[in-house]
Homo-oligomer: 220 residues x 2
């Protein structure tokens, strides 16, 4: 209500000046990269949703963080829910991509090496650069509408299914003793929970973490 938000759009140029589109200046006409502004919103939303939660974050917070006025996010996203969904979907997409890259980069891997790769990739997705999206996905599931949840569930199954053959192999070779399905749930939980306690700024390395996790789960 009294929030100036940013001191941008006071009409400093009256009728005398040649008419110019309001809002922040654009360098050329064909640079109007809508995708860019849209993505700024996504990143701001991801960051705020992660820190304060979906319900406690206002669309005004998000607009301000992206340097916009309070009504502007709705030019890019129909509603706050749609914004949340977009954050999660992008998170899952990049998570899946990174997971696949990691697995492909291994040459003739043993199942143990594959597990270590999956673990390492998961930590990367959770704590690496641009890592606000997936924690939102993990912790704001209940804020989604049923239909959105269905779509994301498919991506999640896709992500998790990469673990299955690896865990099966480890179970068969005696490296893993727990039932595969429960093992996957428990392992992914152990890793995902690190969002609550791992602080990337404190210097501990993701590699060290991954080693500890593999040592915890595997026999010998």
């Amino acid at each position: 209500m009294k929030a100036p938000e940013t001191v941008t759009a006071i009409p400093a140029t009256p009728d005398t000046a040649p008419k110019r589109p309001r809002g922040r200046p654009r360098k050329t006409v064909d640079e109007r990269d809508d995708g860019n502004r849209r993505h700024e919103l996504l990143r701001a939303a991801a960051k705020l949703f992660r820190r304060k939660g979906f319900a406690a974050t206002t669309t005004r917070d998000i607009a301000a963080a992206a340097g916009m006025q309070s009504g502007s996010p709705f030019y890019h996203f129909k509603s706050k829910d749609v914004l949340l969904f977009a954050v999660m979907e992008e998170g899952m997409q990049t998570a899946i991509a990174r997971q696949q890259q990691t697995l492909m980069a291994l040459k003739n891997p043993t199942p143990v090496e594959q597990l270590r790769g999956l673990v390492r990739a998961h930590f990367e997705v959770l704590h690496g650069p641009g890592s606000d999206f997936i924690p939102v996905m993990l912790y704001e599931h209940r804020s989604l509408l049923a239909r959105q949840r269905t779509v994301l569930a498919k991506l999640q199954v896709q992500y998790e299914s990469a673990w299955n053959p690896v865990l099966e192999a480890l179970h068969a070779s005696g490296h893993l003793r727990a039932p595969v399905k429960l093992a996957r749930l428990l392992i992914l939980g152990a890793l995902s929970w690190s969002v609550q306690w791992f602080d990337p700024k404190k210097g501990a390395s993701l590699d060290g973490l991954a080693d500890a996790a593999v040592a915890l789960f595997l026999k010998e």
Copy 2:
């Protein structure tokens, strides 16, 4: 504003009837068990906070779930934050108590048996009867004020510290390969995450879960 909430308090009994305290009837005068109503609020709040999250739950929701009018929760709790804190504190208190009972009930336990007890007690706290309090504690941490967080942190340290000697012993005996501190974080994460996927109504037993977890973490 236009919310009738519950069709309770329309003055169906005019001036003719003998005056009677409004609201739900009390059986006798000295039964006015304030602690009971207060606790009904706590339970209703825990349930709603767990299902919808703190920010998305209104004090009106809570009041209605406890059979009260919208302003009444503030007779028992100064603010919504205080209610949240009370839920978490009670959750930690009973979790610590249950954990201690479990450990005491073991006669001459091996470290492996102790771990299994701790795991089982943790699942009980998360999924047993009256299990809404601790999930709220786990998932609504960020909604707390700094001062409240400090108080709860002490209880959390107390709860977690019970794990340390057990894990140390298991590490020394070669049953546990990961560094103890990281192992504790990962294990507690694996267990706590089950809030996201375990459905008590689906029949799977907490004992089976505990067995799988121990099998996952321990060598042989």
